[in-house]
Symmetry: C2
Subunit: 256 residues, 2 copies
């Protein structure tokens, strides 16, 4: 059975998409059958792995409104063991269309049920809000990975996020656990970055991954070539840190 990991944080620009793409690619390279699902209408994860949005027929939207079966949504990537369910702007319509549907929080979970036996990991990239799409992802997931940027505002929203997780655990998904907090964009040159990392260690020590992702321009360049960092610049600090994160995840979930 696949381990489904949701990547969420309502604070914007903290590295959700960068983590979703590069963790998925690293898991795939470590021979885990991995599916990356883009749950954001901005579709940055879809573009970041090189998929041309105008050239695809069906996207996540068509699956979660039950127009298309899950298997037909899955497309290939540059890595054999990495598959993608792409997104596009029409996904924005989901929130309004499902508003009166009693099952609206379970739509994504029902779609992924069909795929759970075909993958070892399913990674969900979320938009920067606690909207119906993010709630669907948290309801479908077994665990939640929270990227936190090493900047001042980063810790401010964590309380609200953890309260939302608690509510989802109580009402929609009792088995949802927190996989961990990933510190991202640590700029080793600035005091600010180190101060935020120290604060995170003080308040959330037991939740922090050992891996910290440094600020590394290669991570920003890779999506402009439509490639995960492991294919764009395998020796970069960015690639090595997502590799080490993937190993931490495998030890946590596939471990003996």
């Amino acid at each position: 059975m696949a381990q489904i990991i949701c990547i969420a944080n309502q604070k914007g620009g903290v590295g959700k998409t960068t983590t979703a793409i590069n963790l998925s690619a690293a898991l795939a390279v470590l021979e885990q059958r991995t599916l990356l699902v883009d749950c954001d209408p901005q579709a940055n994860a879809t573009t970041g792995v090189g998929i041309d949005k105008s050239a695809i027929d069906k996207t996540l939207y068509h699956g979660i409104i039950h127009e298309t079966g899950a298997k037909r949504l899955v497309v290939d990537s540059d890595i054999e063991t990495l598959k993608i369910i792409p997104s596009r702007v029409e996904l924005i319509g989901f929130e309004v269309e499902m508003m009166s549907n009693p099952d609206r929080e379970m739509a994504l979970k029902h779609l992924l049920d069909e795929l759970e036996t075909s993958f070892d990991y399913i990674i969900l990239d979320c938009p920067p809000s606690l909207s119906l799409l993010t709630i669907n992802a948290m309801t479908a997931a077994h665990s939640l990975l929270i990227p936190v940027q090493c900047e001042f505002y980063a810790l401010e929203g964590l309380g609200q996020l953890l309260r939302t997780v608690k509510r989802i655990k109580q009402r929609l998904n009792p088995k949802l656990k927190i996989s961990g907090i990933l510190l991202t964009m640590l700029d080793t040159r600035t005091n600010l970055s180190h101060q935020v990392a120290e604060n995170a260690e003080k308040y959330f020590k037991h939740l922090l991954f050992k891996t910290i992702v440094p600020r590394n321009v290669k991570l920003g360049e890779a999506p402009s070539f439509g490639k995960p960092i492991l294919l764009y610049d395998p020796d970069s600090l960015g690639a090595l840190s997502y590799f080490s994160l993937a190993k931490e995840i495998i030890n946590k979930y596939s471990g003996p």
Copy 2:
């Protein structure tokens, strides 16, 4: 009559709050009576100007659900001519509570009507989504300022944002104009930043402000001291660029 400027972009982490706080402060220092309204439940703008969220009685939420008059929401800042309407997490409830209210897109506009004669500029900080809160801000505003980070994904969502603006102009706010696109976090050391800036100049030349905000750690540090950059480090590149943006805005709106 106040010029109401909405700062919006559904892409996360592009510098909306940093621009809202520092543009407001610069306008105030240039003797424009300025009101900063925090329309984001994350309330980063409220924290960034040093307001203790737990110590205030009423926030924007209480105003837009008609519980409190606008004047009672306005609080002082460290700058005489800069006032704030703070936000807090309860603002999240607005979307669901107003869902069936026919006037739901106009709630903020009606609230600000009471204040328009007391200010020269009203600046609205938005969350990273095209949700009801952002639509309220675009409906109340005379113009829209779009911060665009000098990173690859930044230009991807602009098309969707401009389509939303067009729809709002047609249905809710015919006088809404685009004040301009502000390039933010330009890292002069990386090719990526310069490439994105060149692309923005190619596609959106007529909309770009002359001012470009460089990546400058002082802008990231200032909110941790609860101060706009002009009070935290007035000689920094960050302070100078927001000063020059304020002058561009004043020339555009208060000009001869």
